[in-house]
């Protein structure tokens, strides 16, 4: 276990295309939580507001990505 953890932190992990797309999810969740924690007056509102913002960001980013991919394919 320690060897796995230490190698994880020492050497870079090689990522494939779909793995990069999946790593968008936790990054967007972190952004949503921090942003909503600064905006919400009551902390009990933060979880729901963060999830809504998270879904909005993820869907928006994937839509933009698919749109750019389609434009790229059409121009190629």
């Amino acid at each position: 276990m320690n060897i796995v953890l230490s190698s994880l932190y020492v050497d870079p992990v090689e990522l494939e295309g779909w793995q990069r797309l999946l790593l968008l999810l936790p990054l967007c969740l972190a952004i949503a939580i921090v942003y909503k924690t600064t905006k919400c007056d009551r902390l009990r509102d933060v979880p729901l507001a963060s999830v809504v913002l998270w879904i909005t960001i993820v869907i928006g980013m994937y839509v933009v990505g698919v749109g750019l991919f389609v434009i790229y394919e059409l121009m190629a």
Binding site: P12, V13, L15, L23, P26, A30, I33, D41, R42, L43
Partner: protein, 131 residues
């Protein structure tokens, strides 16, 4: 003072002004984001002041996390080849720094500690009608 504390340790400024729960959220989320990025990219390759100067400016906004990564990376000898970190790792650590900039502005907007304690109490905001 609270802003400097937040830069050094994300979330510490909110502790200082009495918003402890908010401070814990910032502390945990920013630390997880930063060290998640370091886990992906490796401690030797993710924070590079010379090779990725613009990203380093963002990473250093996490304060102690970026300095700890730099200090740990200096512990390794340069005899083994240093593989380049994936861009995802650099983005994770850079975004963590930029999120901390947002947190710094938030702690500045919440005012001085005396006012915060007077309106919210040392354990964070209280319900309406409280003192």
């Amino acid at each position: 003072m609270a802003a400097i504390l937040t830069w050094l340790i994300p979330g510490a400024g909110h502790f200082y002004i009495g918003h402890r729960a908010r401070g814990v959220i910032f502390m945990v989320v920013i630390a997880l984001t930063f060290w998640g990025g370091v886990a992906i990219g490796g401690v030797r390759s993710t924070v590079q002041p010379r090779e990725r100067r613009a990203w380093f400016m963002a990473q250093v906004c996490t304060g102690v996390h970026a300095f700890a990564t730099l200090a740990i990376s200096r512990q390794f000898d340069d005899s083994t080849p240093r593989l380049p970190a994936d861009d995802v790792a650099v983005v994770y650590t850079g975004i963590a720094g930029l999120l901390n900039v947002l947190v710094i502005f938030d702690v500045l907007s919440r005012g001085d500690p005396a006012a915060a304690f007077a309106t919210t109490g040392p354990r964070g905001p209280v319900s309406k009608g409280g003192t």
